[in-house]
Structure formats: C-alpha cells, structure tokens
Point group: C2
Chain length 336, copies 2
C-alpha cells in the first residue's frame, strides 16, 4: 500500500508541535502538546502517541504515514539520539529515534531544528532546486543548516552547521550562551539585537522611542516597531546587526560558495531594515571572486507551519531508508 503522508514533529522546550504533511508540503492537520508538562519521558511519549493517533484517525491518515521526521535541540541525525545539554526536561543522551519508532511502528529520522528547516526549505520552500545553500535561523539563537551538493552537512559526528557559534568579534566580544565570547549568535539573534539596543541606549545620548520602554524588557520586536516608525537609533541597530551578518556571510561564502543564504525566523521578516545593510556589508566584505554571486533571501515557509514542515521533510528520508536499508534512519521494528 502506498503511504502518501509523513508526520513532522517539532520538539521545543515549551511545546511539541506535530502535523500530517503531503508530498507537496501541505500541512493537512496539526496539533500540539506541552513538552514542559512531562518531567518523565515515558509520560511525554504516551501523550504524544495518544494525540498523534487521534490526529491521524480524525484525518483518515492511520496507516498512511511513510515516515516520521523529528526536529529537536541537539538531535543527532546519525545516532538518532539527543545528546549534550539541552533545554528539554529529560536526561540525555536520549535514543529518541529508536523509542519513537518502536512506539509508532513507523521509521523515524531526527535532526536539529535548523537542519530540519534547511531540509524543509529544500523540499518545499525557497531552496527547491538549489544544491548549495545555507539556511540561517534568526531566533532566540542563531542556527544553521548547510546544504552542499544537495546534501545536508552533518559532519563526521552529526553536529556540523553551528554557524551561530562562529567567532565574529575576537576582541572584547560579547559573552555567548556557549561560554565563549564573540559568537555571531551573541549579536545577531533576537536576543543579540535586544542586547545591542541596551548597549546603544546606555552608551548614547540621542533620543529614541526605545527610551520609553523599561530597558531590560526591550525585545527585538520593540526595536523593529520603533524602526518602522522611523526611529533613528532603532534603524541603526538594524544597520549594526546587518553589518555583522554580512561580515559572517562573506566568511561562510569562502567555505562553501553557496548559491543562496536563506534567512528564517522573526528577524528575517524585518525586510529592508535588515536586508539592505546585510547585503551591502556582505558585498563589501566579500572576496572578489564571489562578489555579486550570493543571493540572500527570506524563507518561503509559513512560520506557523515551518517547524512541522521542516521536520516532516525528514520523514520522507526515514520512509525511503526503511524500504532500502540505510544507516541513516532507525527502521520500525513493527508495522501496524
């Protein structure tokens, strides 16, 4: 029997969102459960299973799921395991792919959220037909998924593509969550933009709409709202952020010479406020042979669907891996 759908599951620290996706990238139906509610992983898995089965039954999709793709923090594609310190309530390493596969009787592949986004973009979005591109997710952190020769770059250990932790300021750099200083993420994530706002407000004297807000509560959204209203300081924060991203993108280009760098996440929707200084800085910093060659474009995935779509795209790989044996995905042990 042909199985026309995949299931995408995005496991975040707060919520777990899942949806049924068809081959054209349409999310037929989706739902969610609270990740945080379950300190015990077995409890979590039971609720996830119950709610997924409910969703499948309601959409006449039981027995129609070819594979399950999961995006989760520090999820390792090769081992199927969540490894290292992550913002999830369960102990690690956690052999997620195997456990979920056994529970559902469906093959499962997992990767981190930024890699899932890259696969989603390649399968359904702005990167269709591109064989060499870099996905940059500008969220709480800066994530990345790198595609070379049409393949996601996992590296020898499954953890490649941590471009948010490229050192972009080597002297007096900002402290990063990773414990080092000067990482791209400390400047160009949503959090980084808010830090820039606080720095600018503290160091400078000029007026700004942002001075009306409690300084510790300022978010990147506040900066955006002020910039849209023409606030000079807020616009300069975007210049500053775009300038640093452009420097970083020029360095990424000497590595893999991508056809495009695709931006995803809240900041990526800032339009020309971010894109103009970013593109100018990238070209200014670019090695001559790459000048004018690299497109910087926003994601084409709807933000509400993107996490599920990205994860689901891995489900096709998992499903294929199940028919032709492949070390990549954990095949299901039972078939319901």
């Amino acid at each position: 029997m042909i199985k026309p759908y995949v299931l995408g599951i995005d496991i975040g620290g707060t919520n777990t969102v899942f949806g049924i996706v068809d081959a054209r990238g349409v999310v037929l139906a989706s739902s969610s459960i609270k990740t945080q509610k379950h300190a015990d992983f077995d409890d979590y898995l039971d609720e996830l299973h119950t709610e997924v089965i409910r969703l499948l039954e309601a959409n006449d999709a039981l027995d129609k799921i070819l594979g399950i793709g999961i995006g989760a923090p520090n999820a390792n594609y090769y081992t199927g395991t969540i490894e290292g310190k992550v913002n999830l309530p369960w102990p690690s390493p956690l052999p997620l792919a195997q456990i979920v596969s056994e529970k559902f009787g469906i093959p499962v592949a997992i990767t981190n959220d930024a890699n899932a986004a890259a696969i989603g973009e390649m399968t359904y979005g702005a990167a269709r037909g591109l064989r060499d591109f870099i996905m940059i997710t500008l969220g709480t952190g800066v994530g990345s998924g790198i595609v070379i020769n049409g393949q996601l770059v996992y590296g020898h250990d499954g953890f490649a593509g941590e471009l948010g932790h490229t050192i972009i300021r080597r002297n007096n750099g900002r402290l990063c969550g990773c414990g080092r200083t000067g990482c791209l993420e400390a400047y160009c994530s949503a959090t980084g933009v808010a830090r820039t706002a606080r720095e600018f407000l503290e160091i400078r004297e000029d007026e700004s709409l942002l001075r009306e807000l409690p300084i510790d509560a300022i978010t990147s959204k506040d900066v955006y709202d002020a910039a849209i209203k023409g606030d000079k300081l807020a616009k300069e924060i975007f210049e500053y952020t775009g300038n640093i991203l452009g420097e970083a993108f020029a360095d990424f280009t000497v590595f893999s010479s991508p056809e495009a760098i695709i931006l995803f996440g809240g900041l990526a929707k800032s339009g020309d406020l971010l894109m103009r200084p970013l593109r100018e800085s990238m070209e200014k910093n670019m090695l001559h042979i790459f000048k004018g060659k690299v497109k910087v474009i926003p994601s084409e995935l709807k933000e509400a669907d993107a996490a599920v779509l990205g994860a689901s795209a891995l489900g096709w790989e998992a499903g294929k891996a199940n028919s032709a044996p492949n070390p990549v995905a954990v095949p299901a042990k039972t078939n319901e």
Copy 2:
C-alpha cells in the same frame, strides 16, 4: 583494453610538473617543463605534449592513460576553465580541460592545487577512509580543499574552499594579496610567518638569531632554523602562528565538523614548534561539543610527489566520467 595509469599535471607559475601514476599512488616516472618560458599558450601546449609523449613512450605507458588530472591556480572543476587573475603567463578565461583533452585524446579534469592536494590525500594519503576532512596547504599562500560526505566541496560556482581568505583579524588586520585585510593567509602562510618575524623584530628589543639576517630577506625557513636552535623569539613566532591557525580551525569546525584537518606544505613540517600551539589554541577556542574530536595531522604525501599525485587523483575521475557520461569532466573528442 584496461588502462592502468593516470597522468597528473601540476601547473605552477614557474614550473609544470607531470607524472605517470598507478592505482596505488606510485609515481612511476615524472618530468617537468618551464611554465614561464611560454608567453603563448599554444607553444606551451606543444612542449607539454611533446614531453609527456616522450615520458609515456619511455615508460611503455602510451595508450595506458585512463585520464589526465590537472591542478592549476583558479582552475574551475565545473567549467574546466582557468578563470580570473592568476600567476600564469596566458590570458584567462582559458578552457584548459577542453584544449588539453583534444590535444592528448584523453579525458581531462582540472581543479585548483589545494583541492587537488585534498583529493590526493583522500586517494593515496592520510585521509584514506575519511569522509569529512579539511586539507590546509601552508605555502606562499594558505589554500584549502574541503571534503564533506566523501566529496570535494566545489560550491555552486566551483570556487568553494578559499579558507585562506577567512577574516581572522577584523580590526587593523594585515593587508592581504586579495586586497582585503585580516585574511588568515596574511598571517599563516610562509610569507605571513616572515611578516610576523619582521613585525616582532621591529617592535621588540630582545635578542634573536634572526637579527643576524637582513630583515627584508627573512623567510619562514630562517625562522624555523632559528627556532630549532632554541631561539626564543623564533619560537614565539611559531606560537603566534599556531595560535591564529587554532582560532581559525575552531571556526572551520562549527561549519563542517571534520574528523581531521590535514596540513600540507613547508610549514606543516615544523613539527611541535607549530603543532603544539596550534592544537592547544584550537582546543581552547573550540565550541564544547567539538572539544577533543578533531585531529590535526600532517600530510602523508611526499612533498616532491604531492602536486603530481594530487592532480593525478582527478585523472581517475576524468577517466570514469568518460565511460559513464558525466558533466564533471571533459570527455576526449578523439581516442588515439
């Protein structure tokens, strides 16, 4: 008829070296001509053809060459063309692969010298069996060849892997030959090491064997010789160089998470003088999930043979591409 050999040709600004190589990476015989002598490319090609045929005849290898691999500056694997400003006497773009293929009646593939070195290392050297590694060539410049999933990274335009032009000093960086400032190459090439020596000697007052030499004539070899004799300043030049390479390698690792970084070229033979500070700096600067995972090892190719071996490894690809049509190599138009 089975063709058991390939021909490797390394085109440098001064000399062109070529050799007959078997499947185990043994250079059966090699020879060279002067690149510089021929302002006219047709003259050059005539002499190359004559000398190659002479070498093949002398080794009973005529009609036994499966393919020709060529390493040359700015040689583009995809287009088969030498593009941009290079240190060669002929106008560019030059459709090298096609011209040589037609002249010899043998399929030809070309790439730049650092990529050729990476393919050589993967085919015959320290990278055998590695699917994810980075080759760094420390010569007059800093070159690189990146292998991911067992494939050389060419990027969308064929020019990926210019890691010598990663910006490693963003403020007050040294001027690089590329016209920008702060490139890795301006610090860690043989030329960069000599520049460091001159800086140290000018800024500092302490004694050094290097002060016995005319300051403008100091080479990286002089620094090595002094360091080996225990000269403190010379040893600190290696510390400085290794420290910067380590910073760069930590950044490369967040991109592709290689199993190993392989060093090739004169400086790579400096042993612990360079390797100890390099490895210490790399680990100190490494993102936690990659600490202790990346090996830094010297090339296993004999330097005298390496250029020819590296180029020759591409000859196998060119030969295979000829039997199974493939956009990668230019198939021969005639078969002698």
